[in-house]
């Protein structure tokens, strides 16, 4: 039907905008990342394996991804709760609390890290309360989780707020009229609708936590094999002028993060299958 006729688009400028997008993405994301890959290819296969699979490095993967996963899970639960409260209820200082959520975004990560380390150290406010219970936060793997949870909170809250706002009160009323109790309404009606966004928020918080450096190193203690994150290892290698070793580890991080984001993206699409 459209033989020989150029397809008309309603919005002009498809060519220039696509061109700009590709150019911009190349400049900001693809070129630096490809440099990373090229730098790594300078290594022999054996040297690459030695760099990325040494026990210290493997331990750091475990610490980084494990802590990031736990932190993102915590955020998924409590971020959802926070978003729910901020959308559904009216209370004094609501605007202020809403703004506070973004604070971890705005603070320099080093400030967050030093603050957390001070508060949770043995004689800090929180640390001195937890000390008698035998719980040590600062300079332990637990501290890493605390820092990663702090910086990841806004992602879940901000992703969920518009979704919760869009849930019509009528669907809850319909559920109640049909005889469902509050719990049934929550997990049969509300949760499935919020789930895709919880997953998105989880993925974002997780990705951010995996890449976090500044706030973690101040509270982690950075003991090799115990509380050393991969980002720190990369920096250490750089300081020792082991550039290819650093890029090799970075490449592993990159691949793992990308694979996880992709997987979560697909999971999210599947959970939104009703909205084709």
């Amino acid at each position: 039907m459209t033989n020989g006729i150029k397809k008309e688009r309603v919005l002009p400028g498809f060519g220039p905008t696509l061109g700009y997008t590709v150019f911009y993405l190349s400049l900001i994301v693809l070129i630096p990342l490809s440099a990373l890959v090229i730098k790594t290819t300078g290594l022999t296969w054996r040297a690459f394996l030695a760099a990325v699979a040494s026990p210290q490095v493997v331990a750091s993967y475990r610490v980084t991804f494990g802590s990031a996963f736990i932190a993102a899970m915590i955020n998924a639960v409590f971020g959802t709760l926070t978003a729910w409260v901020l959308v559904r209820y009216e209370f004094p200082c609501k605007r202020l609390i809403d703004a506070l959520v973004d604070l971890p975004f705005a603070l320099p990560t080093a400030v967050t890290g030093i603050t957390l380390a001070t508060v949770y150290s043995e004689n800090g406010w929180m640390g001195s309360l937890l000390e008698p219970l035998g719980i040590k936060v600062a300079y332990t793997p637990l501290g890493i989780i605390v820092a990663m949870t702090t910086i990841g909170l806004p992602f879940v809250v901000r992703t969920l707020q518009p979704v919760i706002e869009a849930i019509e009160a009528e669907t809850e009323e319909a559920s109640a009229c049909l005889g469902a109790n509050r719990l049934q309404t929550f997990y049969r009606v509300l949760l499935p609708v919020m789930m895709p966004s919880i997953l998105t928020g989880f993925a974002l918080a997780f990705a951010r936590a995996v890449g976090e450096y500044g706030s973690v190193i101040f509270i982690a203690g950075n003991m090799p094999m115990v509380s050393e994150i991969t980002s720190l290892l990369i920096v250490t290698k750089l300081e020792q002028f082991d550039y290819s070793g650093a890029t090799a580890i970075a490449l592993v991080m990159l691949t793992a993060s990308f694979a996880m984001l992709l997987a979560i993206n697909m999971l999210q699409r599947w959970s939104r299958k009703y909205a084709q």
């Binding site: 319909a174 005889g179 049969r188």
Partner: protein, 356 residues
């Protein structure tokens, strides 16, 4: 099941939504709550359902006071204007929802649920869509699914809040007739809310006209239309013309028209308004008697089966609207600017303590 609504009063902040409303609904009746927006009709429906609590008054369903009973135990089917279907569930799961959330001892088996859902889909004439999601259905289909979902739990009463309000005109009128038939089949006590007088007149067994939180009149569609209790109802049900004048000792004088109004026999020269429905205005080329008013054709609008003609009277300051059948219009062959006579019949005179 019968419903007795007794002395219901409800405030929202400083706004009084319902003022001492009482209505009796007989078992199996289909009642239309009709009124303009803000008249309290939806609030009343939500109070019957238990979605709102009244400040005062009681709701008695089948002899049982349900005012304090929670919405999930009331056994009401509620159909929302915007369907409120669960968009992440298929049509099948939407309809099955009310059965699946029953306490385990009352919950039917999977096979029973399937049989019941299929029966309901057949009832609402949508057998083929069980596996689709609500977003894949048209508005009319969604509303029928919402109705099937409400009926699945075998409610004692069915409540519908502007059920056809979000649909286009053709689907609306089809669904109206379909709802009427469905009600005749199921005989379930039903209350629906509408601001569309045509819808109320067509569907309901009985109409309750509401305004500003009060019941203005209640009766069969014929009663309410033929004998409106006050000017508000008269002007709400269809378009009317107003003739201002005075009433003295049972005789009304409205401009050029003189009418005997025996119900106002004891009046002593007080202001009054005569209301005439647009289709009670006849048009003639020669005056029959003193009741014929000289008029000039100002506008002609042809609206499907009727033709609406606007006349200027009394030196064009006032207008009178007449609705003529196509047939009558063709016979008269009216032209814009022509001088003719209009003749009101069925004039209803209300003395002026009523305000619209």
């Amino acid at each position: 099941m019968s419903i007795q609504i007794e002395n219901i009063t409800k405030h929202f902040g400083g706004f009084q939504a319902l003022r001492d409303v009482s209505i009796d609904i007989a078992p199996g009746e289909l009642v239309g709550l009709l009124g303009p927006s803000g008249s309290g009709k939806t609030t009343l429906l939500r109070i019957i359902a238990g979605l709102e609590t009244p400040d005062r008054g009681t709701i008695v369903v089948d002899g049982e006071d349900t005012t304090g009973v929670s919405v999930r135990r009331r056994g009401v089917g509620f159909v929302f204007q915007h369907y409120a279907l669960f968009r992440h569930m298929t049509v099948f799961e939407n309809i099955a929802f009310g059965l699946r959330v029953k306490p385990r001892k009352d919950r039917p088996s999977g096979r029973e649920i399937k049989a019941k859902v299929m029966k309901l889909l057949k009832l609402v004439q949508l057998e083929g869509v069980a596996d689709r999601y609500p977003s894949q259905l048209s508005g009319g289909q969604r509303q029928r699914i919402a109705l099937a979902r409400a009926l699945a739990v075998e409610p004692r009463v069915l409540l519908l809040d502007e059920p056809f309000g979000a649909l286009d005109a053709k689907v609306r009128s089809e669904l109206r007739q379909w709802l009427r038939q469905l009600h005749d089949e199921l005989q379930i006590t039903s209350v629906f809310v509408t601001h569309d007088q045509e819808e109320a007149l067509e569907v309901a067994d009985r109409i309750v006209v509401m305004n500003e939180g009060r019941v203005e009149q209640s009766g069969t569609p014929e009663e309410v239309y033929e004998n409106p209790a006050n000017p508000f109802i008269l002007s709400f049900l269809g378009s009317v013309n107003l003739f201002h004048g005075r009433v003295h000792m049972g005789q009304a004088r409205l401009g050029a028209i003189d009418i005997a109004v025996p119900e106002h026999a004891a009046t002593d020269d007080i202001p009054a308004v005569g209301y005439v429905r647009s289709h009670d205005i006849s048009v003639e080329r020669q005056p029959t008697d003193g009741a014929s008013i000289r008029a000039e054709v100002k506008n002609i609008h042809s609206i499907g089966p009727i033709v609406r003609v606007t006349f200027g009277v009394n030196g064009k300051d006032e207008t009178v609207q007449a609705e003529l059948t196509r047939e009558a219009f063709r016979k008269l062959a009216l032209k814009k600017g022509e001088r003719v006579y209009v003749r009101p019949s069925n004039v209803r005179v209300f003395v002026e303590d009523y305000q619209i």
